[in-house]
Amino acid sequence: MIHRLLLALVPAHDRDAVLGDLNEELPPGGARMAARRLLALSGIGLRYEIEPYVGGDGARDVPGLLATGLGLMWGAGVAGGAWAGAGIPAGYDPVSNALLELWASPHALGMLSALMAGLLAGRAGSGTARRHVVIALSALALLSAPGFVAGAAAAGLCLAGACLGEAARREPEPDRVGATGF
């Protein structure tokens, strides 16, 4: 199925028509599932070619970019905190500095930021990108929070936030590839 889809898509310049043909020929959901699997297996170039047809939840949408940006800022702050703790002077980056101050304040704020970062990352972004961001954020939380217990708690909150975000974004999906309004 995946190879047939790949062969059909790659050489064709009118991909809307090709996807319509696939929708017509394959059983409902078949083409869509194959396209999703293809996305998971394909390189980044092909991913960006096909992703708009599979669904509108790509990493290029505004919430996805916002979540990724906030997550990275939060990660930078945590990393800044870790570096400062290791004796490397902070202050090279105003964003990291500001977030470092937040993180250094009561732990609750750090935990809350872990939860929020997970929630935002889980709420938006494409499947693969979302997983990567959530894993990276959880690892950052685990490794950089002061103490193992605090780190584990922060990582747990990040994962919980991601699950909540994922549940919040789940919605009925049409069973056709690239269906209008998807």
């Binding site: 059909a8 050489p11 319509g20 043909d21 056709r176 209008t180």
Partner: protein
């Protein structure tokens, strides 16, 4: 030879488009070829051939109406251009001239 030579699959695709008339698009062309010749052609090969024939000016395409069963996507419908008909005629003439006098050997069972 006055007209450009057609490949085997190009001939089949042009003939399928001619047979299908207004309903010629990639899926129906593929089904027509499979139904009449028993030859299973890949989707990719059909798309590439249709595109190539359109670039050569033998086919012209336009979009049909989007339908729900196609996920809101329109069909790309193809029709023959005069150059396509001329190329088919030329191919047919070549086949006729090459097979002239060989009917008894071609109709018999292989040795």
């Amino acid at each position: 030879m006055g007209s450009p030579g057609l490949g085997d699959l190009e001939q089949l695709v042009l003939l399928a488009v001619m047979r299908l008339g207004d309903g010629a698009y990639a899926v129906s062309v593929r089904d027509e070829i499979r139904g009449r010749t028993g030859r299973s052609v890949s989707r990719g090969a059909v798309y590439v051939t249709l595109d190539r024939l359109e670039r050569k000016g033998m086919l012209v395409s336009g979009l049909g109406e989007p339908t729900p069963e196609r996920g809101g996507k329109a069909r790309r419908l193809f029709s023959l251009e005069p150059d396509g008909v001329a190329a088919l005629r030329a191919s047919l003439r070549e086949i006729h001239s090459m097979t002239a006098g060989l009917a008894d050997r071609l109709d018999g069972e292989p040795a």
